[in-house]
Subunit: 212 residues, 2 copies
């Protein structure tokens, strides 16, 4: 999120920590600012959609800066107390989809779980949204892969992205799961509401959202 609006040349915009004195611009020194620590394996998936490993307390200022509104949490374990307290205090909606992480094969995950998670992900009322599991590699990688499938990416690009985040612990079963996931299932999924999402970027934000 770079800027809310274009700034025209000649505009004077002096914000927050900036002091102007005798033609000199002073800022809080770079060294004086506390650096933000993104969660491990952090990445931007798309506008308003982020992915990562499990956020710890030291990542909370970063998540605040992201202004995260919702979290898709893909582990079956209850949220740790400190994380639960953080999401409560920030008014963040937590969507938990408990997927076992210890299994080599991802085949135990139902298409239905992924579709439910995708449904949460596609709804911009939940954005900005963070997807995470424990390491941000396998469960998160599968969900993001299926999301790319909705975006009509070719398989090799989905796999390239999966590998980037899962390395060096790549699971061929996850890559098969992404390949086999049938996005046409999204046509008759949950609650009689049909989502269908194509493309990527400014030109192609198309959603079908219709009562059955």
């Amino acid at each position: 999120m770079i800027l809310e609006a274009a700034v025209q040349e000649g505009d004077e915009v002096v914000l927050g920590p900036i002091l102007q004195r005798e033609g000199e611009i002073l800022t809080r020194s770079i060294g004086g600012e506390v650096p933000l620590l993104p969660p491990s394996n952090f990445g931007v998936v798309d506008r308003g959609i982020y992915r990562s490993g499990f956020p710890s307390e030291e990542n909370f200022p970063f998540l605040k800066a992201l202004n995260v509104r919702s979290i898709v949490y893909l582990c079956p374990e209850p949220y740790p107390k400190v994380n639960a307290e953080f999401v409560r205090s920030q008014g963040i909606r937590l969507f938990q989809f408990g997927i076992e992480g210890s299994r080599e094969s991802f085949v135990t995950v139902s298409n239905r779980t992924i579709m439910e998670a995708l449904r949460v992900l596609l709804d911009i009322r939940n954005h900005p949204i963070l997807i995470h599991c424990k390491r941000g590699k396998h469960r998160t990688g599968c969900l993001v892969g299926c999301f790319r499938k909705l975006q009509n990416w070719c398989l090799s690009s989905m796999h390239e992205e999966y590998i980037k985040f899962a390395s060096p612990k790549i699971r061929p079963s996850d890559m098969r799961f992404i390949e086999m996931f049938d996005v046409s299932h999204m046509m008759d999924c949950v609650l009689g509401i049909i989502y269908r999402y194509h493309g990527f970027g400014h030109q192609a934000p198309r959603l079908v959202y219709q009562k059955a």
Copy 2:
């Protein structure tokens, strides 16, 4: 870019390739759609900012879908004819910053070049913007690292991201370059216009853009 606006439950939105017949929704079959092929090593840096390796002709439909308005090209070689024709036909602005890629050490790159590139990158009038070099690893990785520095990321997170995209060809000299890059130089850079960008996410889009 998921959706331009929130769709309320109950809204009926049926777009593009969707046909409705006797309560049945038919779409162009997934198999019938030509999948989009992102350039190699593609990634989303932030809203409206993308990174990749060198785009080839087969990536052009994807770049069209992204609606790319500008390209930051970090190699000294002239743009190939087919790419030059593509950017011309699409009205894409090409910003070339010729950085030698064959050198192990990144020390030959001046802070000034990176600052000029950052200046282009930060200006949302150039968005959506794609940064690319040849492989999207070293030159692109250095520029994105410096961008993260402006966003006040901690060094270990910048390096984690650099490694993700440069693996397995990590260059310690690039990582040092990112560490040593002094963002305070952005305070007295080009054309008497001062940019200063903090933070990340919805809450923190702050820019100082002021005539000297």
